[in-house]
Symmetry: C2
Subunit: 120 residues, 2 copies
Amino acid sequence: MKIGDIARAAGVTTSRIRFYEKRGIIAPAVRGPNGYRDYPEELIAILRFIEQAQGLGFSLKEIAGVDVAQGDHPISCDEAIRLLSGKLDSVAALIAEAKERQRRIKALIAELQGRKQSAA
Amino acid sequence: MKIGDIARAAGVTTSRIRFYEKRGIIAPAVRGPNGYRDYPEELIAILRFIEQAQGLGFSLKEIAGVDVAQGDHPISCDEAIRLLSGKLDSVAALIAEAKERQRRIKALIAELQGRKQSAA
DNA sequence: CTTGACCTTGAACCTAGGTTTAAACCCTAT
DNA sequence: ATAGGGTTTAAACCTAGGTTCAAGGTCAAG
């Protein structure tokens, strides 16, 4: 499949696919006699996987570390659980931070409203 | 006060102060006869205010919009409440998103652990 | 044989919030 | 007068995740 076919099928741009290739996130494409990239159908699933992983909060760097498209072992179940657990922790930390911000903002609003009352 | 004095007092770098000035987040400094920036002591509080606002999730663009250092009216109480309430909403949205991620990650982990059990 | 759609490359551009660097100037102490 | 610290400027660099551009090659249809 040519890059445009893959792009349409996976719902991503062609530039994004080239970008991933350049960054080593997906394996370099086999080239046809005209120099065009020729990708296996499996890349569609890989690209969807990447979007999914991004949606879960994984950076491209982290995704690249999984070697998803390097033809290596497709990552062990234990490894996947380990990665997900790590991300779970960082998401929890993010939530805690956001809640703290929320708390402080609420306190500020309350203070300002109190000031408004006493001024009135 | 010279830029270095302000920087030390406020706990920021001099480059950051110049950056803020260039971006219009703080007012351009008065210059001494040697061309050195000469800042009023009040800038220290303004810089601290900026850090605080950033900590609450406000971008520099949003902070600049407040015209904190333009010598204008120092922002009305109602206006402050409005801005804070808006930020409160976006923080709530952020938390909701993060929780959704958390939920999905947990579901994935559970699925993988189930797979491990059935494989064992 | 030309038009249009596709592909190639490298490089520049974008947001956000700064940092770093280079080359120059100023001030104070010794 | 010279060393050291401070200051000035513009411009380049950084992370992240891409997009956009320019200039050119390829392919199938009409």
